[in-house]
Symmetry: C2
Subunit: 199 residues, 2 copies
């Protein structure tokens, strides 16, 4: 059985909420989850969409919705003043770590989300990204060098282009057995799809 592709941008609040339960969802159905950060802004260029925060009316709704989702899920959520940020450094670090150790990359992604939405860390900055990596036992200097490596930049650009090419236009976005599901609020439908093997 194929893995669940979990596409997200580290700056996406809905991506954060999804990140808190996607592994459990996969485990309930014996599906691996393939964590896939990408640059949502590149997808926005393809669709002509704008980020939620910068969209009149919708941005206000989104901020209210994130706060009530956090209360409902009983999880930390503090929207940083610099939201949304450009998650280039964190995403590149993810793929550099993944090359060494895929499960460490997932632990790192969770730590980035927690650092940003829980603890207000400035994860836009490479130095802070390296601190986050160090906090889960990775070698700080190696991560800092790795996220700046030219081949990682090329790799991450290719990953984002592949996402857009396969129709990923939002965060979070799931693909399983070729079927796309957009949005954290579609995770129940994704789970139904797995339970029934489609319909």
């Amino acid at each position: 059985m194929s893995a669940i592709e979990f596409w997200f941008d580290f700056a996406s609040a809905y991506g954060y909420f999804a990140s808190l339960s996607i592994d459990d969802l996969g485990a309930r159905h014996d599906r691996a989850v393939m964590w896939r950060p990408f640059m949502l802004g590149v997808a926005f260029k393809a669709t002509g969409a704008r980020g939620l925060s910068g969209t009149p009316i919708k941005g206000d709704y989104a901020r209210r919705d994130w706060a009530r989702l956090a209360r409902l899920m009983d999880v930390p959520f503090n929207l940083p003043a610099n939201h949304p940020f450009t998650a280039l450094a964190a995403s590149r670090a993810f793929y550099w770590i993944e090359r060494q150790n895929p499960s460490a990359a997932v632990a790192f992604a969770k730590a980035v989300f927690r650092g940003y939405y829980g603890d207000g860390q400035e994860v836009a900055r490479p130095e802070v990204v390296a601190d986050v990596a160090a906090s889960i036992g990775l070698e700080r200097a190696a991560v800092l060098a790795g996220l700046g490596a030219p081949e990682i930049k090329v790799h991450f650009t290719a990953i984002t282009e592949a996402a857009v090419a396969k129709g990923v236009f939002g965060s979070p976005f799931f693909i399983v057995d070729g079927e796309p599901f957009w949005g954290a609020d579609r995770m129940p439908m994704l789970e139904q799809w797995l339970e029934r093997d489609g319909w």
Copy 2:
């Protein structure tokens, strides 16, 4: 207890899916449902958004999602070739009928959705809107005259402006006790909100 405001555009496929279960949801919680068609295009001007069908990549996803939702819900769904249409005539007819008989207006709204998404009727045309009204026992000529009445045009414009002013930016969109919920896939959260009286 206040009613559930149910805002929708007749051209919105997600509005159609929501229309099939919102009355049952309200009944489970002893809440009246206030059906409120509006012009989604006017809200789009306020947010800068575009309709799903005309948005690259996202439009393809939406068409796929509508089809699988219809299969999941086991309801009729045939996307007409002229989708999305401008539902001015149907919306004005709704408010004209509502002035005579509010429950007939809801029955009419359901017949419009069924006619468009189920039977492929050209409900963009005033004559077809009048046919739909006649099919549920309303007087065809009176509805046709009513939907063209200047005071109804003014009334419907005011309704749409009021929707945008209160932050309605999509279809379907629900407001209950001042709390906004956007999207058919947020109906489970709306229901949780009613069950717990918020959180």
